[in-house]
């Protein structure tokens, strides 16, 4: 190995500074001081003990989506495609079909949201004329082992309940 050798000029105004070592040991003393005191008693730490300790989430937080239902359990979504049209990430994919649960005429037969592409902007929630899509599940961390598991389907979206009461959610300005 015959790389180019470059000799760095030592900086510092006197020998004490040019020596470096004294300053390094002073710095290490601070680090180890914190390490030992936190090691013996970690209750004074300034960080949250995630994941044991969950963060508090307000009703306005935009978490993972869900599709809402009427009291009788039928879905509110009428497959109007407003959310899909408004989505800047183009990550909602709906297919519409004839309604079969006795309400009006139209419902989605497929409703996929690709969470890997979603930017959690909430435009879909704002666009919906039926209050059928909300981001109030309180779920902020979605994990999965493959791409496909991040595509939420109709059933999964309908199955997740909201994390807040109706009053709290409405207070958020919805």
């Amino acid at each position: 190995m015959s790389g180019k050798v470059k000799i760095m000029e030592r900086k510092g105004k006197d020998l004490y500074e040019r020596l470096y070592l004294v300053e390094i040991f002073k710095g290490m003393a601070v680090t180890f001081g914190h390490f030992i005191s936190n090691f013996l008693d970690n209750s004074k730490l300034y960080v949250r003990h995630y994941p044991e300790q969950k963060p508090e989430i307000t009703a306005r937080w935009r978490g993972r989506h869900r599709l809402t239902t009427h009291e009788d359990g039928t879905m509110k979504c009428v497959a109007c495609f407003m959310c899909q049209t408004n989505c800047p990430a183009k990550c909602i994919m709906i297919e519409a079909g004839e309604r079969v649960d006795g309400r009006t005429e139209k419902m989605p037969v497929r409703f996929d949201i690709d969470l890997l592409e979603c930017i959690y902007c909430g435009y879909c929630v704002e666009a919906c004329p039926m209050d059928a899509i909300r981001m109030d599940t309180g779920i902020f961390a979605v994990t999965g082992s493959d791409r496909q598991s991040f595509v939420m389907g109709l059933d999964a979206l309908l199955a997740t309940p909201g994390a807040f009461s109706e009053e709290e959610y409405k207070k958020g300005g919805a």
Binding site: C80, F81, T85, A96, M130
Partner: protein
């Protein structure tokens, strides 16, 4: 040049075409007068009152624009406060019992009520009583779905069945809140143009069962084209869309105005031919019944041609002028007999005196122009003793019965160059897929001798080669439409003075006078 008159709109001088009503004359120069019941093909009915405009010093001072002809010096008011108030009031009247189904209404995005509400109304509803409920999702027959709640009672659909198809299946029964469009009991829509009421209806009261819920109107790309359902060559819009992760798919055909051919309408059968563009397509090349690479298939065709002692070439009456010309050139270059035999494309007695023609092919008139024989005798002579039949797009199974086809193929090896997977492609030794007309461009001559042009509308994810390109690859001289057009111009006397690259939107009638006119 049409005669012009000068008049004043909101105090400004405007020059418009004479003899028309205010809506059409102003519309042509880009001034919109809102209207619901008037349609140029159905005439003025004057029932909706949406088009009321003021005439300064006029007697009466308020007139329906649909029933008023333009006149020299007329002073028309469109933006006076009283006119705006009338428009708001009419909108409010229309919306009293309207369900505002927009989220589930197929018309949303191309609905006159929506458009006019945004442009001329924009006021919140003052209704405090419950709206009158009416029947929804009614089956009117011919795959027309009617929604009485959305109807604005403009009577366009009723007038269409009375004036155009003269079948009169629809009527408006009762008055006021009880007025509804309906069919007579047990007598649904029963004519071959019924789906035109879906286009005519200014709102979502008439929808098509076939298109129902498939797409929202604003997702669709609307590309102009020509219907190939019969030799009339109705002008259409191909409405297509490429959904995420999917291919470019056609969702519907709609008629496109061409006064010289189809006016505002098209037939229902032609409308449904969009399905042939989506389904049953030949996608993968085949050699001896198994899937093969494109290059391999072309090579197999070339080898078959050089090995044959007598070759016959069959061309489809649906092929474009350019395609037929390049195939003719190719057939001559390999000394093959050329036939356009396609009796099966003709359904005698099926046509009517409006749009539908007996001949279900789009371009048979080009055969006459290019001297291509389409008789059975000609085909028999061509195929007699031939050991190779190259079939360009012709669905021979339509013209020949199963056993006749078998006896033809007993002696001759079949090469099918086709966009559709037909009985013929299944029986062929080599099948080469090509682009269909929605993915290609070309010229057609309709039954009245009108030359029209269609352009590429759909772009597939895996585009197929055009028929001319494939013909070129297997030995034809012509490589593209431009070369074919230059060749056509040189070879065909009638086309000599026509610029085939610049065919006007209305097409060109191939008669002496109009050709001379275009050339001048």
């Amino acid at each position: 040049m049409a005669e012009k008159v000068k008049l004043f709109v909101n105090g400004q001088e405007v020059e418009v075409e004479a003899g028309k009503n205010l809506i059409d004359a102003f519309g042509a120069v880009g001034i919109e007068i809102p209207h619901l019941c008037y349609h140029p093909a159905l005439g003025a009915d004057g029932n909706c009152r949406m088009c009321l405009v003021g005439i300064e010093d006029g007697r009466p001072p308020l007139v329906p624009a649909c029933k008023t002809k333009v006149a020299e010096g007329m002073k028309v008011q469109l933006d006076a406060e009283k006119i705006k108030k009338i428009q708001r009031d009419i909108m409010e009247l229309e919306l009293i019992n309207h369900p505002i189904d927009c989220p589930i209404c197929d018309q949303a995005g191309e609905c006159k009520l929506q458009d006019y509400y945004m442009r001329y109304d924009g006021k919140p509803s003052r209704m405090t009583v419950k709206p009158v409920l009416k029947a929804k999702k009614m089956d009117f027959g011919c795959d027309v779905v009617h929604d009485q709640e959305r109807c604005v009672l403009c009577a366009r659909c009723v007038r269409f069945t009375r004036l155009v198809t003269k079948t009169g299946e629809l009527g408006i029964v009762n008055r006021t809140d009880y007025a509804r469009v309906n069919i007579f009991p047990g007598r649904p829509l029963n004519n071959r143009y019924a789906l035109n009421v879906v286009d005519l209806c200014p709102v979502g009261a008439m929808t098509s069962r076939d298109f129902r819920f498939k797409q929202r109107a604003w997702f669709l790309t609307k590309s102009p084209s020509i219907c190939q359902g019969c030799s009339k060559g109705c002008n259409i819009f191909i409405d297509h869309n490429r959904e995420k992760y999917k291919d470019d798919v056609i969702y519907r055909f709609r008629p496109r105005l061409n006064e010289k051919v189809n006016g505002y309408f098209m037939c229902d059968e032609g409308r449904m031919t969009y399905k042939q563009e989506n389904d049953n397509r030949l996608i993968a090349p085949q050699v001896n019944g198994r899937e093969a690479g494109f290059a391999e298939a072309i090579e197999a065709v070339r080898r078959a041609i050089s090995g044959a002692t007598k070759t016959a070439v069959l061309v489809s009456p649906n092929a474009s002028l350019e395609q037929i010309f390049s195939i003719r050139q190719f057939a001559a270059s390999i000394n093959a007999a050329l036939s356009g035999y396609s009796d099966g494309y003709i359904k005698a007695g099926d046509g009517d005196d409006f749009l539908i023609q007996d001949d279900k092919s789009a371009n048979r008139a080009a055969f006459t122009l290019l001297n291509i024989d389409d008789s059975k005798a000609g085909f028999d002579a061509a195929i007699n003793g031939a050991d190779l039949l190259i079939n360009f797009q012709n669905d021979l199974g339509r013209s020949l019965a199963e056993d006749q086809l078998a006896s033809v193929l007993a002696n001759a090896k079949l090469i099918a160059i086709s966009s559709a997977a037909t009985g013929c492609t299944a029986k062929s030794a080599v099948a080469v897929p090509v682009a269909s007309y929605s993915e290609d461009s070309g010229s057609l001559i309709n039954c009245d001798g009108r030359l029209q042009r269609y352009e590429i509308a759909v772009a597939k994810n895996q585009p197929l080669k055009s028929l001319i390109e494939v013909t070129n690859l297997i030995g034809g001289e012509i490589a593209n439409n431009q070369e074919a057009r230059a060749g056509l111009q040189a070879a065909v006397a009638v086309l000599k003075d026509i610029d085939l690259e610049q065919i006007p939107a209305e097409g060109i009638a191939l008669t002496e006078s109009e050709v001379a006119h275009v050339a001048a």
